[in-house]
């Protein structure tokens, strides 16, 4: 049989059995669409988190008080058992490390803000002028905290966009006063709205000099120290140098944890990659179900078409020709179904993106390839197996079954 005739015959057979064709393609399409959409969801989650992390700033090393892993025995272990606080002086000392570009101390607490008779609970962040550079914020109005002595801050405040809208709905915020506890802060700037930022919504922050925040919260300790390395390659050096300096300052005890943004990213990446795989597994099950559906439909259809197969044999078709005709038909149907499902899956992913614009739900290439490949394979396999059996029958047996 010629190739063009084979194709024509397969298309004719597919169009002649509309119900079967539609069922088959639907099963295929649903399986592939499930794979595409679900992996888009999983991979979208991964990308979302990665992007959130990247939004904190670049080339960051984060120092937090306390130790989460043992560093062996050192002289300090015998002297004290409680970790020392991270202090502003620690942060100042870290500025001496050669690989360090910027150091930013961070104190965080919740407080009640009042302005013009309005009261609002907000997260107050105590930090320094460099914070804006490290976090790469943009100002909407006014300016950020001025550079000044870390231990003697002025009573100035920078607020997030949402806070501004709520405290000063109908007036310019810059120049106004906000009361926090028994202190009054002059608002000198408003941050541009960003929306996200890993747990801390920057739009709802009130930023004040670190020394004042510590005084308000009555503490000497810092929540975090953010260190920015000169470049990506310097990150490891920064980590090492920071640990050495802090160990010296803390009587030889390693009582801080230094994490790099990359390490966090890698962990989350791995975690969410696993999640995507899990989701892909669920999708694979739906694909397998689709394959079994295809097999059932094909079994029934071949049984129904036994007489046709018998007739073709009587007219001189060899077993090979019949197998080939069914193979082409199954391949065409699965390919059409798989492509239809791919389009459906893309549409599903696009719908997710339309509903949650910040969620990058794109199916990963490997999932698309695996989905399409599995669909084609199962479709062809389950399409051909029953046909093979039918092609082996003696023509008279096949003809007799109507």
């Amino acid at each position: 049989m010629r190739t063009a005739d084979l194709l024509g015959f397969a298309v004719g057979a597919a169009r002649g059995n509309r119900t079967r064709t539609v069922l088959l393609m639907l099963a295929m399409a649903i399986g592939v669409a499930a794979v595409v959409t679900l992996t888009a969801l999983g991979d979208g989650a991964r990308r979302f988190v990665v992007r959130e992390f990247s939004a904190i700033g670049s080339n960051l090393v984060i120092v937090l008080p306390g130790r989460t892993e043992t560093g062996g025995i050192n002289p300090g272990s015998f002297v004290s058992s409680t970790p020392r606080d991270l202090t502003v002086d620690d942060a100042l000392a870290l500025q001496r490390a050669p690989a360090v570009q910027r150091v930013v101390p961070l104190t965080v607490g919740n407080s009640e803000l009042s302005a013009g008779g309005k009261l609002r609970e907000a997260m107050v962040v105590g930090t320094t002028a460099e914070y804006i550079d490290v976090r790469q914020f943009k100002m909407a109005q006014g300016q950020f905290l001025p550079r000044e002595d870390w231990n003697r801050g002025s009573q100035l405040m920078v607020i997030g966009a949402k806070l501004r809208a709520e405290l000063f709905p109908n007036q310019a915020a810059v120049g106004q006063f906000v009361r926090v506890g028994d202190r009054r802060f002059r608002v000198i700037g408003v941050l541009a709205a960003t929306g996200s930022g890993l747990g801390m919504n920057t739009d709802e922050l009130a930023i004040v000099p670190v020394s004042l925040a510590q005084a308000m919260f009555n503490t000497h300790t810092l929540f975090r120290i953010l260190i920015e390395a000169h470049n990506r390659d310097a990150i490891e050096a920064v980590k090492r140098q920071a640990l050495t300096i802090l160990q010296q300052r803390h009587d030889g005890e390693q009582d801080v944890t230094v994490i790099t943004q990359d390490a966090m990213l890698a962990t989350f990446d791995k975690l969410l990659g696993t999640l995507t795989l899990g989701v892909a597994g669920i999708a694979a099950i739906s694909l397998a179900v689709a394959g079994i559906l295809v097999m059932n439909v094909m079994l029934v259809s071949v049984a129904q078409r036994r007489s046709e197969i018998g007739l073709l044999k009587a007219l001189g078709a060899s077993g090979g020709t019949i197998r080939l005709a069914f193979l082409v038909e199954a391949a065409l149907l699965s390919a059409a179904g798989a492509l239809f499902g791919y389009a459906l899956g893309l549409a599903g992913a696009a719908l997710i993106r339309a509903i949650y614009p910040s969620f990058p739900a794109y199916p990963p290439d490997w999932a698309v390839l695996a989905g399409l490949g599995t669909a084609l394979f199962t479709g062809v396999l389950f399409g051909v197996l029953p046909a093979r059996n039918a092609a082996r029958l003696d023509p008279v047996t096949a003809l007799a079954r109507r």
Binding site: M1, L312, L315, A317, G319, G320
Partner: protein, 235 residues
């Protein structure tokens, strides 16, 4: 001249549950090229089985079948398919047209399966459609055709590969008398053109038209009559 068809001791046994049915029990038969034969007999006498064995649709359990001097019982299924494609045409009682294909496509099917080039197919189909009075019906599907037209399409399909042997199983069984006669005349014309014609039928009138009649009973040929005169009988 060697016989076109030679059957020697052909047996075909079916197992139905515990009982064993000898559909063909030691059939010997010689058919020369161009003969016109009617196979008659009661239901279950083995007529259709004989036709299936002759058409290589069914394999005998014992015996030898020589077609044009070649033993075809030992051929592989694919070689048998080639013989069916080139040498044998079938006409069935229920036409066995492919419902989704048009009359022209049904007629072309054996050539498509044999891999003939499209241009030659078109030419032959056009000739066949004209020859069988179906030119107006070329693009109709079987369900848009009358019974007689369907059987004419089936005959056109059976002869499109110019076979040497035309096997018809109750070709008029699903047709009324007038249409049946028309179909029979068509088959006889083909026979007059040199094709060996073997018709299985219940219809005595149809049987009487054949130059040779085989009467089957219990899987054996009881009477072998030529032109109305008894020639010889197998016991």
């Amino acid at each position: 001249m060697a016989a076109q068809i030679e059957l020697q001791g052909i047996e075909r046994v079916f197992h139905l549950g515990d009982s064993v049915v000898h559909a063909l029990a030691g059939v010997d038969l010689r058919i020369d090229a161009g003969e016109y034969i009617a196979v008659m007999g009661p239901s279950g006498s083995g007529k259709s089985t004989l036709l299936n064995v002759l058409g290589l649709l069914d394999r005998p359990d014992a015996g030898h079948y020589r077609l044009e001097g070649r033993d075809v019982t030992t051929l592989s299924p694919d070689e048998q398919a080639r013989v069916r494609s080139q040498r044998i045409g079938f006409v069935f009682q229920s036409f066995h047209l492919v419902p989704r294909l048009t009359a022209a496509e049904n007629i072309a099917l054996p050539m498509v399966l044999a891999g003939l080039p499209a241009r030659e197919r078109e030419q032959r189909v056009r000739q066949a459609l004209a020859g069988f009075g179906l030119a107006e019906r070329a693009s109709h599907r079987p369900d848009q055709l009358s019974g007689g037209q369907r059987q004419r399409v089936a005959i056109a399909r059976a002869t499109i590969m110019q076979p040497a042997l035309l096997l018809a199983d109750e070709p008029t069984g699903n047709l009324d008398r007038a249409t049946g006669d028309e179909v029979v005349r068509l088959l006889e014309q083909l026979n007059a053109g040199g094709v060996t014609l073997l018709v299985v039928t219940h219809d005595a009138a149809l049987g009487a038209r054949a130059r040779r009649r085989l009467l089957m009973e219990d899987g054996a040929i009881r009477h072998d009559e030529w032109q109305g005169t008894r020639a010889h009988a197998h016991g």
